[in-house]
């Protein structure tokens, strides 16, 4: 009887224990998440930093963290403690917007985390005051500028959230500048003399000539021979000898193929980089102002193609599109953005990169394969031919400017990385008349630095000091030195930093800092645009001809007979038909 009673009681006890255990798991008192920390036996303040350790690697941030700890080793942030210990979480995982508040880390460097979602759900700490103070580079030393002074105008507009009194509040700081380029192998170009000779251009040549040996005469025959002025039209600059126009680019592709070089390679599994490059090409043709008008959903555009009844309207020659007068475009007629001549030009460039004769591919055979990832593409670009993996050397890699940091492991050594010459090829201009117009650098991936809203009171001073130091000129130079990239902030690169960067990194700096380069930060710039951030996504805005056909490169590769004009018409048909549904007012 007693035994039977015990057995009956057992399930109740088990259920009670289970329930209590489940409920107890809902709350966590320990902000450290149960992780033990070496804080000098409780004598130092502790700061937890989460950094997405992807292609940018973690050498730079480890160095910055060590420098910060060294600077503040004798400083007291909280009573009873001297100095700082940083607990790093430098792994390749991002912080999901919905769980930042509950994350044990204090300061975050994250990518692809939606800023509006984070702010609206109260995940982020208000760092407005931190941004408005002079940047501290030690307990006693400050820079002349504030962090906000270093923001670009577009960043100021995007990151500012207004409160009910109309005052701006900031919850994050932009991290790095990222653009997708034509990255070319300078050593290979030198070796194979792939530069246009002085005074030579392919302008005026017919398509059949551009696909033939007739292009051979346009190129230098030795590395010392004088080169053409390049896309900027100025002799003696970094782009001398590079294709200045689309016709030149066509000739270069043919010449490369005739020289047994595969012109292009890119990753096949995620074609986003191609769309990003497309935006750069669009901006290169139309100008940064056109892209900024898109991002504001308003502007006066002067390069709109006349488009009617589903197709481009041509001049009497049947070849040249007619153009509209300068037109005010806004939310009511926003479908007109896609009638931009620059968009059509970028589609022509895309088609040219894929195939210049509609049959032979200009890209590495696996570049449209789902299993062909970015690391393999980079490895083949750097070492594929020398290691015998690919049959021909590859001339140009289409990838983001982070590629060189990502590919670090494929260099034989650090001296190999510092001696091999890769560089950014400026996007050629559609016509000779546009030579000399500014390059456009479109930075479209979201990356930012922020602090969780539930940070402990005692940790705030440390976090503030660290965030400020992270955005000091010293730390930003450290970032550039190790990653060969630029922060999305205004700062100067020192000579010492340049010396430590690879030739590719110096190319990025030269391109970014050039007076002939305009920067476009692909973020919505007005309230209406912010409301339509999903419509303006870099992935879909430029090239959607349906809700799922969003990439012209993959579309052209799968449908070789489709012309740039056909695709342009499809894009405009889509936006014209659906604008009232796509736009949120």
């Amino acid at each position: 009887m007693k035994t039977r009673k015990s057995f009956k009681t057992l399930p109740y006890v088990a259920i009670t224990l289970l329930t209590v255990g489940a409920l107890a798991g809902c709350h966590r008192d320990d902000p450290d998440g149960g992780i033990s920390v070496d804080d000098g036996g409780g004598t130092k303040s502790v700061l937890r930093v989460k950094y997405l350790n992807g292609g940018l690697r973690d050498e730079w941030i480890t160095k910055v963290c060590n420098e910060f700890c060294e600077l503040y080793k004798n400083h007291s942030f909280e009573e009873g403690k001297v100095g700082v210990t940083i607990v790093p979480e430098f792994i390749k995982s991002n912080a999901a917007a919905s769980s930042i508040k509950n994350n044990p880390n204090d300061v975050f460097w994250a990518e692809d985390t939606d800023y509006s979602t984070c702010v609206s759900t109260g995940q982020l700490y208000d760092i407005t005051d931190w941004l408005n103070e002079k940047v501290a580079v030690g307990p006693e030393q400050k820079e002349d500028q504030t962090i906000l002074d270093k923001f670009t105008d577009s960043s100021k507009q995007y990151f500012a959230m207004k409160d009910s009194a109309g005052k701006d509040h900031y919850y994050a700081i932009p991290a790095y500048e990222n653009s997708c380029f034509l990255n070319y192998n300078i050593d290979l170009f030198d070796q194979k003399c792939l530069y246009f000779a002085k005074g030579k251009t392919a302008d005026g040549m017919s398509d059949s000539q551009l696909n033939s040996s007739a292009v051979d005469d346009l190129f230098v025959t030795s590395a010392d021979e004088e080169r053409s002025t390049g896309p900027d039209g100025v002799a003696g600059t970094f782009d001398d000898g590079l294709p200045a126009t689309y016709a030149d680019f066509h000739a270069l592709i043919t010449f490369m193929k005739r020289s047994s070089i595969t012109p292009f390679i890119w990753k096949g599994n995620y074609p986003d980089d191609l769309s990003s490059f497309g935006l750069t090409a669009w901006g290169g043709s139309s100008g940064a102002e056109t892209l900024e008008a898109c991002l504001s959903l308003e502007g006066n555009l002067s390069d709109l193609v006349e488009w009617n009844n589903g197709s481009i309207v041509y001049d009497e020659d049947g070849v040249t599109p007619k153009h509209l007068d300068t037109t005010a475009v806004n939310s009511e007629n926003g479908y007109l953005f896609h009638q931009s001549q620059g968009l059509l030009d970028s589609l022509k460039l895309a088609k040219l990169m894929l195939s210049n004769d509609g049959k032979d591919k200009n890209y590495y055979k696996n570049s449209m394969s789902q299993s062909f990832d970015h690391l393999t593409a980079q490895r083949y670009f750097l070492n594929g031919y020398s290691s015998g993996v690919v049959e021909q050397p590859i001339g140009i890699l289409v990838d983001g400017c982070w590629w060189n940091s990502e590919a670090n492991a494929y260099y034989q050594s650090d001296s190999d990385r510092l001696s091999r010459r890769m560089g950014i090829m400026p996007v050629p201009h559609p016509t000779r008349a546009q030579v000399g117009e500014p390059n456009v650098m479109v930075s479209d991936r979201q990356s930012m630095i922020f602090v969780r809203s539930t940070i402990a009171e005692k940790t705030i001073p440390v976090a503030k000091a660290f965030v400020q130091y992270l955005n000091s000129d010293v730390a930003m130079n450290t970032f550039s030195r190790y990653t060969d990239m630029m922060r999305l902030m205004k700062y100067e690169i020192t000579d010492e930093t340049l010396k430590g960067m690879s030739p590719y990194g110096r190319s990025v700096v030269a391109f970014s800092k050039s007076e002939n380069t305009k920067h476009v930060n692909w973020v919505p710039m007005t309230d209406l645009a912010k409301k339509n951030a999903s419509l303006l996504s870099y992935r879909t805005w430029g090239y959607s001809c349906s809700s799922t056909d969003i990439n012209p490169y993959t579309y052209f590769a799968a449908h070789m007979s489709v012309t740039p004009e056909d695709y342009f018409n499809n894009v405009n048909q889509y936006y014209h038909s659906n604008w009232s549904y796509l736009l949120t007012k």
Partner: protein
């Protein structure tokens, strides 16, 4: 008097026993019921409401507005102005038909073969179960490497044909490859269920049928199928109910970059949200409306099919 007292004691004891049994039952089911209410009913109810709202967080504050049928209008607009939803519906139907007409019959046949212990049954058992055992991402990676690297290289080396690169991006070759993977992937789970159902058939019935001169096919058709009919109906119903949600492994293979010719309704619904970034809930309302609309179409059809199959299907007697 003693009898009345005795009856009262017995009655009280019975009531107490019943009360204790009820208490025990409530304690056992309380947690799962609460879990079901929170994570199924409340969440789905919220999703239903979301289909009639708009969501905006661009000002740093969440603003949800009631917009009535606005999201549904947008879906109908997509039907009118684009092909994608028609293509996705066609693809979803194709996967359903393949499931019903190829996977289910072949699974049953293979399960019967293994059940009967014919030669190499053990080998088939292991090979066909592998997709269920191995992590699905491993299978996908293997499949992609095989289709996108091995096959093109072999075709180029042996047949001097370089037209086999990027099979999964090809509108002509891609659908075949995807369907082969889909069938292979589905096989394992189905066979396990059929085998389990077949194992409940008394061996004596099979032996009796064979003594009476029934061949293998007749045995399979007249004895095995009626015996496993409820299992078969369950799988058919599951396949039909999955019509809208079925992504056909497209996300595993392509991420968010599945070509439009390959998309299914399930993938498109996911794509509506994912293409703008996983963190942003801005497009959740239209995805919710999408799910609701197709559920309203598919659910009655599925229930009707179940009713008809159970009513008019074969019986063991």
């Amino acid at each position: 008097m003693n009898q009345t007292l005795s009856l009262r004691v017995t009655s009280n004891a019975k009531k107490k026993s019943k009360a204790m049994r009820t208490l025990f039952y409530v304690c056992m089911v309380a947690i799962p019921v609460v879990q079901f209410v929170i994570f199924y009913i409340v969440v789905n109810f919220n999703s239903i409401l979301l289909a009639f709202k708009s969501y905006d967080n661009s000002t740093g504050v969440v603003i949800e507005n009631w917009i009535g049928w606005g999201n549904f209008e947008r879906i109908f607009q997509i039907f009118r102005s684009e092909n994608i939803l028609w293509i996705a519906t066609k693809n979803s139907l194709l996967y359903l038909v393949f499931n019903l007409c190829v996977v289910i019959p072949l699974s049953m046949l293979f399960a019967y073969y293994i059940y009967r212990g014919y030669p190499a049954a053990g080998f088939f058992k292991v090979m066909l179960f592998l997709p269920a055992v191995i992590c699905s991402m491993v299978l996908v990676i293997f499949f992609k490497e095989f289709v996108e690297t091995a096959i093109p290289e072999l075709a180029e080396r042996w047949f001097h044909d370089d037209g086999w690169y990027a099979i999964l991006s090809s509108e002509s070759k891609g659908p075949v490859a995807l369907m082969i993977f889909y069938v292979w992937f589905l096989f394992s789970g189905s066979i396990l269920l059929y085998l389990n159902a077949m194992s409940n058939i008394p061996k004596s019935q099979i032996e009796a049928a064979q003594i009476d001169g029934a061949g293998e096919f007749r045995t399979f058709w007249r004895i095995v199928i009626p015996a496993i009919w409820p299992t078969l109906v369950s799988l058919i119903i599951l396949a039909m109910a999955d019509f809208v949600a079925n992504q056909a492994n497209l996300f595993s293979i392509y991420g968010i970059f599945a070509p439009s010719w390959s998309q299914t309704l399930g993938y498109y619904q996911f794509f509506l949200v994912a293409r703008y970034g996983a963190d942003s809930p801005v497009n959740y309302p239209i995805a919710s409306a999408f799910g609701l609309l197709f559920t309203a179409i598919v659910a009655p059809i599925t229930l009707l099919t179940r009713h008809l199959l159970l009513r008019f299907g074969p019986r063991e007697d």
